[in-house]
């Protein structure tokens, strides 16, 4: 620690950080633009100037940029010095010269870092009265709006988009007062993380188009801490509501999980929740029409499904996209023996395997913060950018650990961003990817092994063999032995190696990845190895913990088909996405009574006798368990004004008591979930009957909002179940970060106010940890048998592709996400395409399977293998492991226009 004096006060600061960061960590107000807690310093904006004195006798001092200055012991500086203040005020005056006076119509107004810093710097009146520089804006796709005139050229956007997120299509253009941040030409921003530009830009250049369309000022939004339901990472979010619908989603800082950033699926994929297709009432099918049921009819219908009231067997089918409570309430209704997995059988097998490995003490499941510390990474078969996008963004930081190491050696501070990048050039920590096709991380990959899945499994087994010294396990082509040895050596010599796998390509690759991690652990003496195993959905882990291994979806469908069970309750699940369509049809036809609880119409609700409307993620309180086994609580943001209830409220008798009693029951009843209730807020912190307000202290227009109905402001809704209220009254939690929806601090109205809530910049929140790792790791594991047999019955070995926009069921029903979706496609090699006379984009038929796909000829794909992406209409679970194809004359509906992959062959080839 270094002792420094700031404006006459002694502080102890960390000399490894820069002075600006340390000033902010100490809670001091010092304006800045180009610095960002995650991106280090470049000294571009000159806004954080302070005076540094040579010694106690020096009364003049000199101006230094705090962000470019390392604190040293005995340093004396001043933020408040008049010269420093006037310098900062002049700098911002110059930056603001061409900035328009459009705050009243700017989406950033009221939460604008530029507004905050302008006021903080004391630049209150404009003197410049000449012509301003203006720019043409670009169309950047359905997510991001562009308003270049507002730019103050801090360069944060390109530093985030290019340097941090690895984007290639946004750049700084032109020079001096013409500097422009945009694409080479108009078009969709390609990065899967483009939405963060909205939060990274200190003013309103990059805006959230979904928000602009339904705009509300920040202080007029009703918010609550929520969890993204887009994938298994469980990023922390803050959805904002006004007039009964969600208006936007912003990042909610969690030091272990998402930090400052979300992916575009999570940020923009919420539109389905205000879809006009949402079920509003309980429905009963009578012949071809659906009739609305009243409450008593619903109650007696539900009683009929309860295991206590019926002699026939009722089974329940849960869902990995539903909350732990929804699944648990269903399990209580039908009994644990009759509760079945809602995952596809292949995915369920993988999930159970992952569950088992997550209890194994040889491994550690790393958080995103920990993933960023890895200095050698092996990805086994998982296309992380499309299945758990936020992790792909973390991996782009992990590969920079080599640069940090070089910086340490050269004694360059790690936060000297430009210098460290210049020093490292293309040097990166090794990232090796085993995949059926080139993934979106290929630009930072050291080695890419592209092959069919069984051959990747044997390659992975060979790495495990090399690490454990079992030469007989190395069964790869001679040419690949060097690559096997190289990857093994990289993992072995790393300080913190990381192995990633997931359920996308089936269980064999997960087993092989676990074997690698086990062999790696045995070759080292420093504890558990980071093994990150990804499941596809927000609560795949929770679902797997609640169901027994035998109770697969296939078993459930068989029970219905055979008549062993005659009633079925399906919670938040479209079975047609999970199992062969023929089997689902047969099972549902056989079932005497079928109740489906869901938000939106699906192929499954179309077959139901009863449909109960359930609430969307932001309309209910519930918890989810992420890929690490981290349980996180998601609060209700707003009420659903129709008759929808959360699934657990429909299914559980204890609806009035809120979620707590159900969670306690669940923790007691389910092995492995004993710690679940530790995520509940500590109620003892609330005094005087005050709750945490969902509305900000500046919330306005409560009377005006309903003035078309009457001039008297109706009573605010009372939330009897939660620690939060639908009101402005109450008190923000001082002790519990899990109830902190968004940050605000005097003079800090933008998201940059988060530093006031962090124990130190980039540290944990002052109100403590949120979420809880529920898994106990105490099992002893062993090497797993891996099957590497190919299915040689047909020509092409299949692997599966996933799309960030499309593979997730709910977000893909949002209209902006639809604009980014592609149709089903089959990726094949150039040679295989030529031999079948198939050209790029042609329609393809699969022999024996009813489907029409677009050809996607990719230079990376091996002859004899193919990658298939199935959109929601395809009967994807009927596909065999290998296929024969031919050119088809059917017209494909959506095609592959808009697919962002680097190895797509040109159409003229």
């Amino acid at each position: 620690m270094a002792k420094i004096v700031i404006d006459g006060v002694d502080y102890e600061v960390n000399p490894d950080n820069n002075l600006l960061q340390e000033c902010l960590s100490q809670g001091l107000d010092l304006p800045y633009f180009c610095w960002h807690p995650c991106m280090g310093s470049v000294g571009a904006c000159r806004q954080c100037a302070v005076i540094q004195y040579r010694d106690e006798d020096d009364d003049k001092g000199m101006l230094v940029m705090a962000c470019m200055t390392p604190p040293t012991d005995g340093m004396i500086i001043s933020i408040e010095d008049e010269q420093a203040k006037s310098f900062r005020s002049n700098v911002i005056e110059s930056l603001m010269i061409s900035h328009p006076h459009d705050c009243p119509v700017c989406e950033e107004g009221g939460e604008c870092h530029l507004q905050d810093m302008t006021l903080m710097s004391g630049h209150n009146y404009r003197r410049y009265d000449k012509e301003k520089v203006t720019h043409r804006n670009q169309y950047l796709g359905p997510f991001i709006g562009h308003e270049m005139n507002r730019c103050i050229t801090c360069y944060r956007c390109v530093r985030y988009y290019d340097d941090y997120a690895g984007g290639t299509d946004l750049s700084a253009q032109a020079s001096h007062h013409h500097v422009y941040f945009g694409r080479h030409e108009e078009g969709v921003l390609e990065s899967e993380f483009s939405g963060n530009l909205v939060e990274v830009c200190p003013t309103g250049v990059f805006t959230d188009r979904t928000f602009s369309e339904n705009y509300t000022r920040k202080w007029d939004l009703q918010t609550a801490p929520s969890i993204c339901t887009g994938c298994a990472v469980g990023c922390n979010t803050t959805p904002g509501e006004r007039y009964g619908t969600l208006r936007r989603i912003t990042n909610r800082y969690n030091s272990d999980v998402n930090g400052y950033f979300l992916c575009d699926r999570g940020r923009f994929g919420y539109g389905y929740s205000s879809s006009d297709q949402r079920f509003a009432d309980p429905l009963q099918r009578k012949n071809e029409t659906a009739e609305i049921m009243d409450d008593s009819a619903v109650q007696s219908m539900l009683d009929g499904f309860s295991s206590e009231n019926t002699s026939v067997t009722t089974i329940g089918i849960g869902s990995p996209r539903a909350s732990t409570e929804a699944n648990y309430a269903l399990r209580c209704l039908v009994g644990a023996d009759n509760f079945f997995s809602g995952m596809s059988d292949e995915e369920f097998e993988s999930a159970n395997l992952i569950l088992q490995l997550n209890k194994d003490k040889a491994f550690h499941s790393p958080s995103i913060r920990e993933i960023e510390q890895a200095d050698a990474i092996l990805i086994v078969g998982e296309d992380v950018t499309n299945t758990a996008p936020r992790i792909a963004l973390a991996l782009r930081q992990s590969v920079r650990n080599k640069a940090m190491e070089l910086a340490d050696q050269s004694r360059i501070p790690r936060w000297q961003d430009a210098a460290v990048r210049e020093l490292a050039q293309h040097d990166r920590s090794p990232l090796s990817i085993l995949s059926g096709y080139k993934t979106r991380l290929d630009d930072v990959a050291d080695d890419e092994i592209i092959d069919s899945i069984p051959r990747l499994a044997s390659f992975a087994q060979a790495i495990a063999g090399s690490l454990s010294g079992k030469a007989e396990q190395i069964q790869v082509e001679d040419g690949q032995v060097a690559a096997v040895e190289k990857i093994a050596e990289q993992l072995k010599s790393a300080k913190r190696p990381l192995v990633i796998a997931g359920s996308s390509q089936g269980a064999e690759l997960i087993k092989a990845a676990a074997n690698i991690a086990r062999a790696l652990g045995e070759s080292r003496a420093d504890g558990a190895i980071d093994l990150c195993l990804l499941t596809p959905e927000v609560n795949s882990m929770g679902m797997a913990m609640l169901s027994t291994e035998e109770n697969s979806l296939g078993a459930a469908l068989e029970k219905l088909r055979s008549g062993e069970a005659s009633k079925v309750v399906i919670v938040e699940n479209d079975l047609y996405r999970r199992a062969p369509h023929g089997l689902v049809d047969e099972a549902l036809e056989k079932a005497e009574q079928c109740l489906v609880i869901d938000q939106l119409p699906t192929a499954t609700t179309a077959k139901a006798d009863f449909v109960l409307p359930c609430t969307a993620f932001a309309e209910q309180e519930s918890s989810y368990i992420n890929y690490e086994g981290r349980a996180q609580l998601s609060f209700q943001v707003h009420r659903n004004h129709a008759r929808a209830k959360s699934s657990w409220q429909w299914l559980s008798a204890a609806t009035e008591e809120g979620i707590e009693s159900l969670m306690h029951d669940c923790a007691d009843a389910v092995p492995g979930l004993a710690k679940l209730c530790e995520i509940l807020p500590d109620k003892s912190q609330f005094v005087g009957g005050m709750k945490v307000p969902r509305q900000s202290h500046r919330y306005s227009g409560r009377t005006a909002m309903k003035s078309h109905l009457g001039v008297h402001e109706p009573k605010q809704a009372v939330d009897s179940q939660s620690v939060m209220s639908f009101s402005m009254e109450g008190i923000s939690s001082q002790k519990d970060a899990s109830i902190l929806a968004s940050s605000w601090s005097p003079q800090w109205n933008s998201n940059q106010s988060i530093s006031k809530f962090q124990s130190e910049v980039n540290g944990e929140l002052k109100q403590g940890h949120t979420g809880k790792l529920v898994m106990e790791r105490n099992a002893e594991g062993a090497y797993l048998e891996v099957s590497v047999s190919e299915d040689s019955s047909a020509e092409l070995q299949l692997s599966r592709a996933h799309q960030i926009f499309g593979s997730d069921e709910l977000s893909s029903r949002s209209s902006v996400i639809k604009q980014r979706m592609v149709g089903s496609y089959l990726g094949i090699s150039e040679e295989d395409a030529r031999s079948k006379r198939i050209r790029q984009g042609d329609s393809i038929a699969i022999v024996g399977v009813e489907a029409s796909l677009s050809a996607c000829i990719r230079s990376s794909i091996k002859n004899g293998s193919a990658v298939i992406y199935c959109d929601e209409t395809m009967d994807s679970h009927s596909l065999p492991r290998s296929i024969n194809i031919s050119k088809s004359n059917n017209e494909v509906q959506t095609g592959i226009k808009g697919l962002i992959i680097s190895d797509l062959m040109d159409e003229d080839n």
């Binding site: 359905p142 750049s171 700084a172 253009q173 030409e185 078009g187 390609e190 604009q819």
Partner: protein, 170 residues
């Protein structure tokens, strides 16, 4: 629902010609990183084509496997990489301090009267484009300007007429 066209711009790229490629290949032997060749490649293409069209820029990006956005950043950073068509002869007219002291404003109005073009404009016959430049490093012989590759010093209205006449008659 149709998807947006995303950055499939490589199909618009112009195939660089053999001469351009040979010169770019030579530059590539001089630098360890392809990114460093970007600027040289832009200059080479401009030398052969007179300016750098979108199609040329994409052609370079494709050839060097650089992001078009990055190359655009380089191309637009430098004022003398022309992203719009220019005349056969580019007049770089110095309007910096020394030339200003020596009366370059009169010279500029003379050019404007003679050629009928202002800064950033090209004559209708496509012979001349006029561009201001901050200094040509020949202050002791101000006012100065460059026409094409040639530097002209101690400009007077008469010498300007002579230069224009000579260029026109070529």
């Amino acid at each position: 629902m149709t998807s947006e066209v995303i950055a499939s711009t490589s199909s618009k790229a112009r195939q660089l010609n053999a001469e351009e490629i040979a010169e770019i290949e030579h530059e590539m032997t001089l630098y360890p990183d392809k990114k460093a060749v970007g600027l040289e490649a832009l200059k080479i293409v401009q030398k052969h084509q007179g300016w750098v069209s979108d199609e040329s820029l994409l052609g370079i990006a494709k050839y060097l496997d650089l992001p078009a956005a990055d190359l655009e950043g380089v191309a637009t950073f430098f004022n003398l990489v022309f992203r719009q068509p220019v005349g056969d002869n580019v007049i770089l007219f110095c309007d910096s301090v020394s030339c200003w002291i020596m009366g370059c404003e009169n010279m500029k109005s003379h050019i404007k009267d003679t050629l009928g073009i202002d800064y950033g404009e090209t004559t209708e016959d496509g012979k001349f484009t006029l561009i201001p430049v901050p200094c040509l490093g020949d202050c002791d012989r101000a006012p100065v300007m460059m026409v094409g590759e040639e530097l002209h010093r101690n400009l007077t209205p008469d010498s300007i007429d002579e230069i224009v006449k000579n260029v026109r008659s070529k």
